[in-house]
Symmetry: C2
Subunit: 222 residues, 2 copies
């Protein structure tokens, strides 16, 4: 298992050179967690951030009445909690494995000392931050001015891939989780999916959604 390759696939480090990645690896370690295991909790001191090698973890917050809202699900190659490192000493949300997972842990002190020594690395990371920020802005826009059907259509197009000439989305996590990602509840997602099926834009079997008419779906996501 080559940690370097994974680091190069994250938005924060994808423009690092091999040598720069080697420097980074000095501060990285492997962390294995079981499904349901807590990785960190909201309010804890942020001593490190993580990158998922395999499995899936969710970032979530609890609302005052104890309801859980998933902000993000991180899969293979994605970074977790890097925002907490430079700003607060505390994690701004909680993180839990939703599958047995393997993570790279990068220590806060490690990454900070590295940037002090090699400021060029900061340029590359800031470019990554900038991109991440735009993702959030887009999510807020979508939440406030698109309905569920549009958000679902956009999500499917965004996360599908081509396979044998057809656009495929793999239902790798539960619809409950997807609903939460889209800022809604399972019932509503279920109805939205039914609607798109009924319009013959998608079909579903064996935990995969087949996008039958990407063009029309794109119109919907508008």
């Amino acid at each position: 298992m080559d940690i370097r390759k994974f680091l190069l696939s994250t938005f924060l480090f994808d423009s690092f050179s091999e040598k720069e990645i080697d420097l980074l690896v000095n501060f990285a370690s492997i962390k294995k967690v079981n499904k349901g295991e807590q990785i960190f909790s909201e309010g804890q001191e942020a001593s490190a951030f993580f990158i998922v090698i395999s499995g899936k973890v969710k970032i979530y917050k609890l609302s005052p009445d104890g309801k859980e809202h998933t902000l993000h699900i991180h899969g293979k190659g994605e970074t977790v909690a890097e925002a907490a490192i430079f700003d607060s000493m505390d994690y701004p949300a909680s993180c839990m494995a939703i599958e047995d997972s393997v993570l790279v842990r990068i220590s806060r002190e490690g990454i900070l000392s590295l940037i002090r020594k090699y400021p060029e690395l900061a340029f590359k990371m800031m470019s990554g931050y900038s991109r991440r920020l735009r993702q959030f802005v887009q999510k807020i826009e979508e939440l406030s001015l698109k309905d569920i059907k549009s958000r679902l259509a956009g999500y499917l197009l965004e996360n599908s891939f081509e396979e044998g000439g057809a656009l495929i989305y793999n239902l790798s996590c539960s619809k409950k989780e997807i609903a939460s990602l889209l800022g809604t509840i399972p019932e509503t997602l279920s109805r939205a999916l039914a609607f798109l099926k009924q319009k013959n834009l998608i079909s579903e079997k064996n935990n995969t959604i087949i996008i039958k008419d990407p063009e029309k779906l794109k119109l919907f996501s508008g």
Copy 2:
């Protein structure tokens, strides 16, 4: 408009010291553009990035058949094209003012040389990115699990200040803008305000909102 003050109010530079801002200002200039004026074009060398002081600009791409597609609209306080700067790349899309606008222009070479010389500035900037990210996380949370009345109550408490023993919120911008900030429309904001007034939690006169009962309002924002 004092560039220093403005820069200190942006998320990217708000933790800079006076001296650091002075260094930055050496590479900053004001750029005024009229509605419809081009700010940069796709493929040009990215020689600078911008922060919007007033007005609005759009980021757009032209498809091969000449059709324009708006990717994003940036308003006051937002950064434009900074990813391209850190990537040392060409502008990946074009930018045009859609209103008469005023921007700060910060040269690529300027900001890069500054960070090379003072790597600590990169921490402050990344910390700025982090804080902004957390703001967005919070905004997403509020949008998905609070109703307008709660969001308004929270917003008022968040943005009010004490004056003569009373909590005051100054209506410095139009209610239209506040509505947009809260992710709703003026009519709904108007009704939410009326509701809070009717509950005797707030009152309004002369473009100021007086929070008469902060404790009860706090309960509402929960």
